[in-house]
């Protein structure tokens, strides 16, 4: 099996989920210049709601599997939209215009509350995805592609397309772009700025809900702590692409997914000390016994996103496609 191609395929799948979550960050940032720290938790809520509904329907109703999954996603979306709206009303709107640290700290508070509430509702045990959908695996040029992977990539692309249409082809989209350009001016032109900002949060939350169900389906599992790390990675993706830029978030997400997958796939081999076993005899001996003496194994998977994030912020803070030059104080 071709590891390179396989990791690219896995990376594309995860990357497209990152991209969908990153869109939520980037939209909110573009419009109110605020990092919605609790966005990852919205993804978690989406995954939990989606998987509970799917689990319940799969056990009791005789509906076809695809309908069950669809029903799960469709029930996660309104719940997450409600969460997103409430969040904006309670924690962000009162602080609009306050120094940046204030909304960031409320966001941390909100994510702790969401996590704990999710734990109370669903307990500490992870929810698993029932084996209802047949997941045929295709072989392409020596690598495996599963139906779920194809579905995740297609749904992500579809959602990105719909979002692009909303932003560039509807009245709401015009209002959103106007608000992000200059909220005060947009208000004077008759745009209801509060409504537009709320709508941005709600759309982001809807995307997060779908992303949550997708990631739950892909890993076959969802738990109350999954949001934080996923959110961080998606944020890194948004920064990589250039925060505030829709195309950037998509590109950044997919790129980050691929980097992570390739990194995880190859880091073990790259840091295998047995390549340089001539350094010492004891090392050579260990190599002869175990075959590999790996410094950094695939257990460092989660480091890549943070390293990418730091590198981008240091060398190109505006991101790959960002127009904003420099984010200096």
């Amino acid at each position: 099996m071709d590891i390179f191609l396989q990791q690219i395929i896995n990376g594309l799948t995860l990357g497209s989920v990152y991209a969908v979550v990153a869109l939520g960050y980037t939209m909110v940032y573009g419009i109110v210049q605020l990092i919605n720290f609790a966005h990852g938790e919205v993804v978690m809520v989406g995954a939990m709601v989606g998987l509970s509904v799917i689990g319940a329907l799969a056990a009791s109703s005789g509906l076809p599997p695809l309908v069950v999954v669809l029903a799960g996603a469709m029930s996660a979306v309104p719940v997450c939209m409600a969460v997103g709206y409430t969040m904006e009303r309670v924690a962000y709107r009162p602080l609009r215009g306050a120094p940046r640290l204030a909304p960031l700290i409320t966001a941390i508070g909100i994510s702790i509350i969401l996590q704990q509430v999710a734990m109370l509702v669903w307990s500490r045990n992870p929810l698993s995805f029932p084996q209802i959908v047949a997941n045929p695996v295709f072989e392409v040029a020596g690598a495996h592609v599963s139906a779920v992977q194809i579905a995740i990539v297609s749904v992500s692309v579809l959602m990105m397309a719909v979002l692009t249409l909303i932003v560039y082809r509807t009245r709401l989209g015009v209002a959103m772009r106007a608000t992000s350009e200059n909220a005060q001016m947009a208000g004077l032109m008759g745009v209801n700025v509060n409504q537009v900002i709320a709508a941005t949060f709600v759309i982001g939350a809807a995307l997060a809900a779908i992303a949550g169900v997708m990631i739950g389906t892909y890993y076959g599992i969802a738990h109350y702590k999954m949001g934080a790390l996923l959110g961080m990675k998606a944020f890194a993706a948004a920064v990589l692409g250039g925060i505030g830029n829709l195309a950037g978030a998509m590109l950044g997400g997919i790129l980050l997914g691929v980097v992570e997958a390739l990194g995880t796939g190859y880091i073990g081999e790259l840091t295998d000390l047995c390549h340089i076993d001539w350094i010492s005899t004891s090392l050579a001996q260990r190599c002869a016994e175990d075959g590999h003496v790996v410094v950094f194994g695939s257990n460092y998977q989660d480091v890549f996103a943070f390293v990418v994030l730091i590198l981008v912020l240091v060398f190109r803070p505006s991101g790959l496609l960002g127009e904003r030059v420099g984010d200096r104080a």
């Binding site: 215009g97 640290l101 941390i108 702790i112 509350i113 704990q116 000390l273 730091i310 984010d327």
Partner: protein, 358 residues
Amino acid sequence: MAEAIKQSVRNPAMRWVGIVLVAAALTALPFVLAQVGTAWVRITNLAILFILLSLGLNIVVGFAGLLDLGYIAFYGVGAYTYAILASPHFGLHLPFWIILPIGALVACIFGVLLGAPTLKLRGDYLAIVTLGFGEIVRIFLNNLAQPVNITNGPRGITLIDPFRVGGFNFSRTSSIAGLDFSGPIKYYYLLLVVLVLVVVVNLRLENSRVGRAWMAIREDELAAQAMGINTRNVKLLAFAMGASFGGIAGGMFSAMQGFVSPESFVLVESIMVLAMVVLGGMGNVWGVIIGALLLSFGPEILRYTVAPIQYAIFGKLLIEPEVIRMLLFGLALVLMMLYRPAGLLPSATRKRELEEHD
């Protein structure tokens, strides 16, 4: 009443009387607590450690205005430095007065490592990068067991040496002048001494040249630069000093617990310390101390009250105290920012800054 207190504080003689009274109370405290239960002395010790941590973070967040969400990483670095240099893990048993400065230095290096690439970043970006840094440190602590076993992975390092001066061992009970000094009580006095030192350093820092430079940067970095402040060095100094305080606290934690594992250095702990600083009042040393005390003792009191109350009313445990603690904690962060953004005991300048809309 308030006026009378203010008057008496201004009076130097009264001030000394007050200081002596507080000192007497703090000296007697562990014996009173030991009557209730030794557990409370341990809780008090942990609370003092958290005060040390919050004071360290206060330098970075409160004085210099750099939001650091990965602060616990320095605590972890300090704790692991101590654990590695004083445990059977590598067979090293250095005395604590050598390791603590080493721990502070290592943490300081990590602080500079974090600070240097992030100097140009603005508030919220900095927060996310520091958070990422904290996670990276935790992941490394968790995984650095291969190919050379440095941190012993998720199992952590055990059998760490307690503090020892000659034959005086801090983990054993010894009798002095007819009083039984148990391990936690000895650590209490040691921590108290360190705390007093750190508080004095912090109070002096606040009005020093460096402290004023930090505050100038916090208020307006450009203006500070124009006034001739070397913002790069001064910011790095804030990171380095904050980190060293964290490193010292970490070393003491390691010695007190006798055991460290990556579990103790997770993101929630960073947020907890930040919440202490925010709750008390960023930039105000006394406020930060009050915040740390509230958030250290509050959950413990909850632990002892919530479960019995639930058993009394519902006959079973509906919500675990831990969950209630976290929920209240999240709620406190939100409510504080909404209704009292400058904290319970705000510093004067910070208050002006946070209540002003920009």
